[in-house]
Structure formats: structure tokens, C-alpha cells
Symmetry: C2
Subunit: 134 residues, 2 copies
DNA sequence: GATAACACTTGCTATTTGCAAGTTATCTTC
DNA sequence: GAAGATAACTTGCAAATAGCAAGTGTTATC
């Protein structure tokens, strides 16, 4: 997916230039809400992402500064990914996306989790940041 | 863009099935934040969307219940679009996207507007809802 | 050294996007 | 009423991306 030169500089257009596709935010989701950290784990997430697409998305998110890649010191084959602070700052948006979908679509989000998100967004996000060592 | 059968029922995956592409949220943006309401106006927004892509996106958002289409009573050629309540409920997510992009990317969002969003999200969203007659 | 695992890469097909001309219905002007 | 303009798409083709599955190179294990 070659990114054309920037369109407007509108924040939403700018954001969509970075993650306006079907797969990127799924990677961010896994890093944010689950303990998946490797290429193989993202592939195994059950979303049906193709290997070339995942590789390209990881690289793009890395270049955008949303995720960071390191090599597992205990296994030189394994690349580990984590969210950067810039990536963590996507939490409010992802949270609102969860809340929206839970209200308007059929999802398997645990009702208690959604309720916790809606009850106190700031607290929920603070909890995520703590988990991620921020 | 043929939508494959649903992947996981995760809220984020579900949402991305609906608007996980480069163009859909730009339509929602225009309806939410500007006074663009017609096919021609969306095309003229300066984002470089192709005509066939716009037509398909409008239809898809209509089918998803996010926008609604009516014919302008004063001009039978003109289709007018508006956000449904379901579409309006995307406001918090769009707002967080704006805030994120303003913080991490170079955008032309007016600083005062971004500050108003960050200062009191609920109030800003209430203002949007009032403008949209909710 | 043989085998396996990890992270991609590659070659090909299928699908979508992008471009620009085309079509149809409605409106405006004369 | 006819001619011209406009609005919303549609269409045909080229370009780009997604998807599939086999392949490759490095590292780890036995």
C-alpha cells in the first residue's frame, strides 16, 4: 500500500493516512489489550491477516512511530513489538471505538469490560498505561 | 471492496469491517464537522476520492445505518446525506482521533478547536449534537 | 549435522482503487 | 418544447493492493 502524498492536513485525513485500513488497528489492538507481541502471535489472532500484509503493516506502524521493534534477547529469531507512547495515546480512540461497536453492533466484548470503559474512561486508560509500564 | 464474512466479533474488528478503509470516515467527518451534504460536495472536499469509491462508500455507510440518504425536495437530481443517531455516536471516536493527530502529527486543525475538544469533550460533543438537531 | 521454528519474502491470482469518459434523469434557460 | 447544463452516479480499463501458499534465510534445539 503505497501512501500517496498527504492529502489535506485535516487531523482525520492525516490519521487515516497512517491507519486507515482494515488491519493496522488490529495490531494496535492486540498490543494494547492482549499480550500478543510477536509476528507469529498476531498471525495466530484468528483475524485472517495475510503474512505479507502483516509484515507490511508492522513496518508501517514502526515507521509512523506507533510501535517499536526489538529482537528478543533470548531468541535471535524472534522480533518483539510494543506500543510507543505515541501508540499508547491511541487508547482513548480505541476505547471509543469499542464503546460504539458494543452499542451498535453485535460483538463479543464482555459486558463488564464495556461497562468499565464507559463508567470511567480516564481510569480505564490509566489502567492500560500502568500495564504497559508508562 | 467486498466484505468478507465477519472475522472475530471483537468490537474493533467489527468496527473495521464497517469503516476500516481510507475513505469512509472522511465522509463521516464531512457530515459531522462541515456542512457538506451531497455527493458533489464530498467529491469537492479536496481529498482526491474517486467517484466510484465515493459512491460505494456512501452506499456502504447507508447500509450500515451510519448515514441516511434523501432526495432534495427542491431538486430531484440531488441526494442529501445526513448522519443517523448511530453515525452521530461516532463523534467521541472522531474527536479522540483529532486530538491524537493534533498531538502527534502536523495538522491544520485550528489550535483553539483542538483545545476546546480537549477541555471538555462532553460539552463539545453536545454542541455537535445540537448542530445536528439531536 | 539434521530438524524445527521464526520472521518474513516471493510469485502468482484475485480484488480493489484510481482515472476519466460515459450515461441518465432532472433542472434551467431561451 | 428544445438545447444546454447539472447531479449522481456508472463504466471500462490500468494500476495498485490484498490474499494465498510455497519458499528462504537465520537461529535454536536435539
Amino acid at each position: 500500500m503505497t501512501r500517496k502524498e498527504a492529502r489535506s492536513r485535516c487531523p482525520i485525513a492525516t490519521s487515516l493516512d497512517i491507519f486507515g485500513d482494515r488491519w493496522s488497528l488490529l495490531v494496535v489492538r492486540d498490543l494494547m489489550f492482549t499480550d500478543r507481541r510477536t509476528y507469529g502471535e498476531f498471525l495466530a489472532a484468528g483475524e485472517g491477516m495475510a503474512t505479507n500484509v502483516l509484515a507490511q503493516r508492522l513496518e508501517h506502524l514502526d515507521c509512523a512511530g506507533i510501535i517499536a521493534r526489538t529482537i528478543d534477547p533470548t531468541d535471535g529469531r524472534r522480533a518483539m513489538y510494543r506500543l510507543t507512547p505515541k501508540g499508547m495515546d491511541l487508547a482513548p480512540m480505541l476505547l471509543e471505538m469499542v464503546v460504539w461497536a458494543a452499542a451498535h453492533e453485535e460483538t463479543d466484548a464482555p459486558p463488564k469490560l464495556v461497562a468499565a470503559m464507559k463508567r470511567d474512561r480516564k481510569r480505564f486508560i490509566a489502567g492500560l498505561r500502568k500495564v504497559h509500564g508508562e
